[in-house]
């Protein structure tokens, strides 16, 4: 009997060995195979650049710009733009383009040391405004649709309030407007010392610092052991699925440094206890932002399981822009834009952009 037990133990050991080796072989394949990590999935042309900003225009398979109402996507300047255009067949921007729109994406790029002085005005009145201007010029339209994601939504909201005549419809995706709602990235950043960022003597906030804030929000993701366990479990997936996971990981883990002046200003105006949007005291440079100027149709989308921008802080736009449509979708901050259930958001956005008279 003891011999038979020993035999079974060895068989089990052999099976464990085989499975571990298979996972390591799969990991090797994934780590050595190519992909378009860090770039968009849909063919695009560079139509404008300024400092680190690249304005991309999606084109069709023949390299021609699409014909249709223009839409400008404004992603968050602290992460890579390509979450908007993640994978062939899983691209928000690609879906909107296929629905009959002329799609542009603002890629803010990766700031370097001198960009630590870039403030809110530089982004809103500089990069975003000139991007809109360029899109208007290229499309021949006086007004365009603007879709802002996360912090890009904050920039879009401020821009639209300052220049309402150039925006026909505004979509804000997981954009916090009520900074007093507990949780999310402003509160974590607050606890991690964002208040100490200096406006006068800003630093280039390292990507690792920003990454640590996001890691604080995702239970387990700040534990190396937990992350390794997750990856080890994932290695049972098919190589194709793993390449998808890798593309997503290359977005989630590849945050960029940020201008300390911008973060100091965002915290000083919109952080916990400041809440300038809700109080109507938001400023961009010398200009006070009048949210009453937002007369265009507005769609605000929150995610039920958003740990970065808590849904209550997003939905609060109802109280400052009463005509805004507010939509809450199942999923997380990233999942609703590029996850497996993201098609719900894409469809709603497409319908909103198409159906609402501009």
């Amino acid at each position: 009997v003891r011999g038979a037990d020993r035999g079974r133990e060895l068989e089990a050991l052999l099976e464990l060995s085989r499975r571990a080796r298979t996972k390591l072989d799969r990991l090797h394949d994934v780590l050595t195979s190519g992909g378009h990590y860090g770039k968009g999935a849909t063919p695009a042309q560079l139509v404008y650049s300024e400092n680190k900003l690249r304005l991309l225009r999606l084109v069709d398979d023949e390299g021609k710009p699409r014909v249709g109402p223009p839409v400008l996507f404004v992603p968050a300047p602290v992460s890579r733009y390509f979450i908007i255009d993640l994978l062939p067949g899983r691209s928000f921007a690609g879906y909107i383009a296929a629905a009959g729109f002329d799609v542009f994406i603002a890629d803010f790029g990766e700031p370097t040391r001198e960009d630590r002085f870039n403030d809110l005005e530089y982004y809103v009145e500089g990069l975003v405004r000139r991007s809109v201007r360029k899109v208007c010029a290229l499309s021949g339209q006086p007004r365009i649709n603007v879709v802002g994601y996360c912090l890009g939504g904050t920039l879009s909201l401020l821009y639209a309030a300052l220049h309402p005549a150039s925006v026909s419809r505004l979509v804000l995706l997981t954009t916090t407007v009520d900074g007093d709602v507990q949780g999310g990235i402003p509160w974590v950043a607050h606890r991690m010392g964002l208040a100490a960022e200096s406006y006068e003597n800003p630093r280039l906030v390292p990507a690792a610092d920003i990454k640590s804030w996001f890691e604080m929000l995702a239970p387990g993701s700040n534990s190396v052991v937990g992350r390794i366990n997750d990856l080890w479990d994932r290695l049972d997936d098919t190589p194709d699925r793993l390449r998808d996971v890798r593309t997503m990981a290359s977005w989630v883990d590849d945050v960029v440094p940020a201008s300390g002046r911008l973060l100091a200003e965002l915290y000083g105006q919109f952080g916990p206890g400041k809440n300038a949007l809700m109080r109507g005291t938001a400023r961009v440079g010398e200009r006070v932002v009048d949210l009453g100027a937002l007369t265009m149709p507005v769609l605000a989308v929150s995610a039920e399981k958003d740990s970065i921008a808590p849904p209550a802080g997003v939905d609060a736009i109802r109280s400052i822009v009463p005509h805004a449509q507010v939509l809450r979708l199942p999923g997380g901050h990233v999942g609703i834009v590029a996850g497996r259930t993201a098609a719900a958001l894409w469809q709603k956005t497409s319908e909103f952009l198409a159906a609402t008279p501009g």
């Binding site: 770039k39 014909v67 109402p69 909107i96 296929a98 290229l138 920003i210």
Partner: protein
């Protein structure tokens, strides 16, 4: 091992030896990649901390940042920042001139297709082919899809 089938089913010992050979092959593949592919070590390092981030190291913490050399000259950064702002103002100026030029010529500011000059300077960014495995989510070119407004005549 069942009697009568020793030639089709290897013994436990034989399978164990075969497994060892497979492990050697796996480890050799890793060593080969480490030697031949500069990115592989970076990617492997990322994997060893649970990340599949491609092509660049996982954002590292304070030690590297703390040991970063102090800026040689703060003023140089401020000059570069001022130049960047100036570049933006110049771009505004060019855009305004372009709009005026189009108005004087009696054309719309710009049409949807790129001008020959823009086409010449426009750089293709990516042109990936959809993978067979991906399941595209197609946007319906619905009846709701808006039609293009007629060009404004200045």
């Amino acid at each position: 091992v069942a009697e009568g089938t020793p030639e089709v089913e290897p013994t436990l010992v034989e399978r164990w030896l075969q497994d060892q050979q497979e492990w050697q092959r796996t480890l050799r593949a890793y060593f080969d990649s480490m030697v031949k592919d500069d990115d592989f070590l970076v990617n492997l390092g990322n994997a060893m901390r649970g990340s599949l981030l491609a092509g660049k190291p996982y954002p590292a913490g304070g030690a590297a940042a703390a040991s970063a050399p102090a800026p040689a000259d703060e003023r140089l950064d401020q000059v570069l920042f001022a130049l960047n702002k100036l570049q933006g103002q110049l771009q505004d100026l060019f855009m305004t001139l372009e709009e005026i030029s189009h108005r004087l010529n009696g054309t719309a500011p710009a049409s949807a297709p790129l001008t020959p000059k823009q086409r010449a300077t426009a750089k293709p960014i990516v042109s990936p082919k959809p993978r067979a495995s991906s399941k595209p989510v197609r946007a319906p070119r619905a009846k709701a899809a808006p039609t293009r407004k007629p060009r404004a005549r200045a």
